[in-house]
């Protein structure tokens, strides 16, 4: 399965990800340069004494050249030291470890829902292209892209939690408290987040299935007397299933971004809430650390889906 050619492609993917990862850390560190005025004064907060400002300047090495500052920050970050919160003094790495699992659980849940709901919809739409069913499903899909996730979350909370008492309206249970409870709490946020995913998955699946149905080899299968249903299941899906991987890696990025707002609606203390609170309170080390953690995850997920794609797609061999 893994030939020399595929291994070579995987190696080149890894090499491409490296500069992106380094540049991403540079972008995260440079964010601080956008703060107008003296960074040390801003970081020290309101009414800080001169000593405190000097201490902050020393702590962050702000009296050194920018690249030196960046270098030492990166060196510490690689070793897991992302500094401490200016407000609570909690190490940023601990804040991330405390909040990120909740967020990742919700994101993963939302992506699973997107696939579980989006794939049947896409297949249904592709089974009769141009029909009423097809245009109906595609209209729902375009609604899924445009609906504000956090607003949809409120409606879900109002109807399903406060109205019908099916799910808890706010709050969370960490995955450590038992997966069942955690999923129970994560259901509404995940439902709120999955609209975009359902749309992307069903659209992508539909368009590649429709394309494949008009291709040469499907015509041959028709000529051999295979029924349209078995062509769709046996040959269509096998060929487009791999494409879903690309959609999922894009979805991960989008869903992770949307969680930031949805967490606020459901009062979930995830990494999104941590970033927003830190921004509102000017706690910059937390902002940097959390953004770094999120972009690092996106890069890793992109890499993993790329590698899986290379391993699974049979067409790469012939190319």
């Amino acid at each position: 399965m893994l030939t020399r050619k595929k291994l070579g492609m995987i190696a080149s993917r890894l090499l491409q990800a490296l500069p992106i990862a380094v540049l991403a850390t540079f972008v995260v560190y440079s964010l601080m340069q956008l703060i107008p005025g003296d960074i040390a004064v801003t970081l020290a907060g309101e009414n800080a004494s001169d000593e405190r400002i000097a201490e902050i300047r020393e702590l962050y090495g702000l009296n050194q050249p920018f690249l030196v500052q960046y270098g030492s920050w990166l060196w510490n970050a690689v070793q897991g030291d992302l500094g401490v919160s200016l407000l609570t003094r909690e190490p940023v790495a601990e804040t991330i470890a405390r909040t990120y699992p909740t967020t990742l659980l919700i994101v993963a849940y939302a992506i699973v829902l997107s696939v579980v709901i989006g794939v049947p919809l896409g297949i249904l739409a592709a089974s009769r292209p141009g029909s009423l069913l097809d245009s109906g499903i595609m209209s729902i899909a375009s609604l899924g892209v445009t609906v504000p996730n956090f607003w949809f979350g409120m409606i879900l909370a109002l109807w399903l939690a406060l109205g019908l008492n099916l799910f808890p309206a706010t709050g969370f249970a960490s995955p450590g408290d038992g997966l069942g409870t955690a999923l129970w709490y994560a259901t509404l946020p995940a439902l709120a987040l999955c609209t975009n995913g359902i749309a992307e998955v069903s659209r992508q699946l539909r368009s590649s299935l429709v394309e494949i149905q008009s291709s040469q080899f499907v015509r041959t299968l028709h000529a051999k007397g295979l029924s349209p249903a078995s062509i769709l299941w046996k040959h269509g899906l096998k060929n487009v299933g791999v494409n879903l991987l690309t959609v999922i890696s894009l979805l991960f990025n989008k869903t992770l971004a949307a969680t930031v707002v949805v967490e606020a609606v459901f009062a979930i203390p995830g990494i999104g809430s941590a970033i927003v609170n830190a921004v509102l309170q000017g706690d910059f080390p937390v902002v940097q650390g959390a953004v770094l953690a999120m972009v690092a995850t996106v890069i890793v997920v992109n890499l993993v889906t790329d590698v899986l794609y290379t391993v699974l797609d049979p067409r790469i061999e012939q190319a």
């Binding site: 992106i20 540049l23 972008v27 892209v145 930031v260 830190a278 921004v279 996106v298």
Partner: protein, 291 residues
Amino acid sequence: MSATTLLPLQQDSIVVRFGRWLRRDIRGALSLAFLLLLIVVALLAPWIAPYSPTEQDYANMLAEPSARHWLGTDDLGRDVFSRLIHGTASSLYAAFLAVGVAVLVGVPVGLVAGFMGGWVDLAISRCIDTLLSFPAIVLAVAVTGAMGIGLTTAMLAVGLVFSPQLARLVRARTLVVRQELYVDAARCFGASLPRLLLKHVLPNAIQPVLVQATLLLAVALLAEASLSFLGLGVQPPDVSWGMMIARGYMYMEIAPAQMYVPGLAILLTAIAFNTLGESLRVALDPTLRGR
């Protein structure tokens, strides 16, 4: 003599073609009409709205919709319909500002990368890939935090975060366009680099940008709503649709209309931007016509 007069193909004037498009594409025309209506509402808000957005009716707080207050009142007794009308301006301004910034930053970067090629292209492309790895709203939140909270800075941040998408698009188009014969011809006639880019490459690479920018308007509108909901965008006493949702959220069990109404406004406007974008895509791409 300009180059266009040499073309044997007679083209109708842009007005005629526009009229034909309107008749053929009902959904696109409806979306355009709705958006134009919104712009008029935004500009005429002080004259159209029955009340000022900050005027408080103490006798009617969190009131149900009635003849006096068409969409009810909020927790401070302010007329929701009037606030919706006044919020139109902030929300549209936010969307256009963000997309404007994205175009102004993204298009030149993409042009230069695509046209220069070589290590310049390589360096810019790596930067684009890197910025696209950031979850967009998260980066916008962080940039807003650094530059200062407020609608204008928040939407500048959103625009900067969107710009790599356009840069990538323009770069890809430019790579194709720069190999065309007319670009070579212009170069042989001694056209300078800025002239080559502005006169010959840009007009032929801009069409997909027009489509993408229209689609981005919908995303920017949602971004404004998100950031204002989080308290990073519009600040009181100003009002935007996202901020109205945030306010309505606190009282959604007592007065759900306050939460539904601004959300529906966002949803409808986003659908209009999206539909218009798709219509433009079909109208501008001859291979998609008749589908």
